[in-house]
Amino acid sequence: MAVSDVTTSDTYAVSVRRWPITRLLEDERWLAFVLLLPTLVLLGLFIAYPFVKGVELSVTDAKVGVPGSFVGMQNFALLLNDSIFRVAVWNTVVYTAVTTVFKLALGLWLALLLNRNFKGKAFTRAFILLPFIIPTVLSTFAWKWMFDPTFSVINWTLFRLGLIGTRINWLGDPSLALISVIIVNIWRGVPFYAISLLAGLQTINPELQDAAAIDGARPWQRFWYVTWPLLLPVTMVVVLFSVIQTFADFQLVYVLTGGGPANATHLFATYAYQIGVGTGLLSQGAAISLAMFPVLLVVVIVQLLYIRRVETL
């Protein structure tokens, strides 16, 4: 893998001269085109149509098996007066904001810990990923049982430690239910953040750190002025994707609470599914799904602008 193995100038020169395609690929635009081609073909074939179809559904009054006719923004107007929808929006925003902050903070901390040398490093790094590897449906079932009022191992532990006198109704109390869902999401997401950021940390040249250390920088200064700026591009992308995934989260809530009790944990996606699939009102389901688009878009644009700004610095 060492760079020195392959950087012998002879081989490069020969191949450039020999192949006309190579010369074409010297042009950045052509190279970019070739490199992007597979992606564009795949996405074009598989996502373009469903995407357009989804948007189209949201402006019709289609039901399952009935194409429906154009109704403009009526579905969206309906949503404005929908009390369950408003609850779902609020829940989704809280859910995404809280989990993202925790996942980033804890994930970064864990990544920094894992970046050190210690016995069983590789093993720990891999097994830390387990919450992320295990199929969400199945791990959520396990959590469901850990939160079950009658069987909760968490309640038992807290009780034994003398921290509680009566059981905690994890999923039954409206605000606790949302907190429970948030806990499971953080549990699932921290490994993802930690390992991505760890990989980011690994691409940072340790010599930079050493140089700063020699200059007398304290550990947190080294982190803030050396490591963090270099880690930022990766961090932003990880946050970006995690925000989107969390915003559109479905499985976890669907399995854990089904949006209950009394809609206290309904999210965009679970509500959209309930309306679109459960009731067959495809157009309204699509409208709910798409209603998260503008919110997401704002988040995304802010982050993208931020990434660009960081890059140009």
Binding site: V64, P261, V277
Partner: protein
């Protein structure tokens, strides 16, 4: 009966699908023995994975080969989690390909009236031969003009309760609190002894609605008038029922139930922390199946201490909502004729009988003839299920069991109305909220 593992069965049914896809070869092989139909006819039947594993085994092991022998149809049965059937149905209808026959729960057939074939001939024929359908089976599968699906069965919901615990509070064997007031008083006594009743008012497709709706009806509350348009939920009766529920919840119920799913009350009851809960027969049958695993506090087998009773009576009467199932013949299916023939065959008395027997009473037939079956002589504890479906109504009452009813149901509006009150919202506000939501659905 020789034992055949589920694994082999699954392979069998998988093989069927494989053969179906292989087309050419399979059909040549099939040609030798298939008399009635175009030899390569294959049917794909999607249904839920049954609570009773023996029923699924019977379908895969006996019904599939018999179907091929009797009708010349290669049957592929796919069983999935009940919660996931609608996702499959929706995508199948939208893409115009998928299972030929789908077993629907509740009134799902009413959600897809444009996409299912008219099966009036089969349904009428079966109904006539088997002494008519239960009202509830009919309203979910018939839109008033034609049959959208052939009713299959009804999963009875009854209260399972601990015999000895009810004896202790003054209800000797066979007696059970007959109305809501008495029932609530019993709950109070039981909860004081650390044996609360258990019920979910969470977002579940089974236990929460099958409790909340009949409760509302028995107080005289209803969603809409018979015209299906005038929403009348916000009424004196409804408010009274909600108030009663909120008080009852504190008096008699396990307060963790707000978050329970359909399986939680089974676990709570089997673990001995719950004295009485509305459920299918699954608690009793599971306890009976594994007598060594579930015991009472005295060490005796739990199943011997379980009895069943219908929901108590209210001012307006005694009601139940039992989960109905019906088979939809999908409109996109290319095997319409064969599929109808199959539905006629599988629902006919002789064939259905085999399946019915394996159910042990967990479900009753959709037609009244099954009340007379000798199965009910076997176990007196199961007897309350025999006639349960008679008092059955479907959500949306007094209007039709149409798409609006399904929307109210799948948004859990009625259930959440009770849940909100239980969580402390004044009954009037909870009812007002629910009324507005229901009105929006019917708008």
């Amino acid at each position: 009966m020789t034992r055949i593992s589920r694994r082999e069965l699954l392979k069998l049914s998988g093989g069927g699908a494989l053969a179906a896809r292989a087309g050419g070869m399979a059909s040549i092989v099939a040609m030798k023995q298939a008399p009635a139909y175009a030899q390569s006819t294959t049917l794909h039947w999607l249904r839920w994975n049954d609570f009773v594993p023996a029923s699924d085994a019977l379908l895969l092991k006996e019904i599939v080969p018999e179907c091929e022998k009797a009708l010349g149809i290669k049957l592929t049965i796919e069983m999935i989690n009940a919660n996931d059937i609608q996702a499959r149905t929706t995508s199948a209808i939208q893409s115009g390909s998928g299972p030929d026959v789908i077993c629907a729960l509740n009134n799902w057939a009413q959600l897809y009236p444009e996409s299912v074939a008219d099966v009036s001939d089969v349904a009428e024929e079966i109904g006539k031969a088997q002494e008519g359908y239960y009202e509830e089976s009919k309203v979910v599968a018939n839109d008033g003009k034609k049959w959208l699906a052939v009713p299959w069965c009804v999963v009875g919901a009854q209260l399972a309760y601990r015999k000895s615990w009810f004896e202790e509070i003054g209800y000797p064997a066979g007696k059970f609190p007959q109305n809501w007031e008495l029932y609530r008083a019993a709950g109070k006594l039981l909860k004081a002894k650390g044996r609360p009743m258990g019920q979910t008012v969470g977002h579940t497709f089974g236990d929460a609605p099958t409790y909340a709706y009949p409760f509302l009806w028995s107080f005289g509350g209803k969603e809409v008038l018979a015209d299906g348009k005038t929403v009348v939920l916000n009424s004196k009766e409804t408010i009274e029922s909600v108030k009663f529920m909120a008080g009852f919840w504190k008096d008699g119920y396990d307060e963790g139930g707000l978050a329970w799913d359909d399986s939680s009350n089974n676990r709570a009851f089997l673990s001995g922390t719950c004295s009485c809960t509305l459920n299918g027969a699954s608690i009793y049958l599971e306890a009976k199946r594994k007598p060594e695993a579930y015991a009472t506090e005295n060490g005796t087998p739990l199943w011997q201490d379980i009895l069943h009773a219908p929901l108590p009576t209210g001012a307006a009467g005694q009601f139940g909502y039992h989960l109905p199932m019906s088979n939809m013949l999908m409109g996109y299916s290319r095997n319409q004729k064969a599929a109808k023939e199959f539905l006629r065959w599988i629902t006919s008395k002789d064939v259905y009988q085999k399946w019915f027997d394996t159910q042990q009473g967990y479900t009753v037939g959709a037609t009244t003839i099954w009340e007379k079956d000798k199965l009910w002589d076997k176990d007196p504890v199961m007897l309350p299920y025999r006639t349960a479906a008679r008092a059955g109504r479907f959500p949306g009452y007094e209007g039709p069991a149409d798409r609006h009813a399904a929307e109210v149901l799948s948004k859990y509006i009625i259930i959440d109305m009770f849940a909100k009150a239980v969580q402390g919202m004044p009954a009037e506000d909870a009812v007002k909220w629910a009324h507005e939501e229901v009105a929006r659905v019917h708008a």
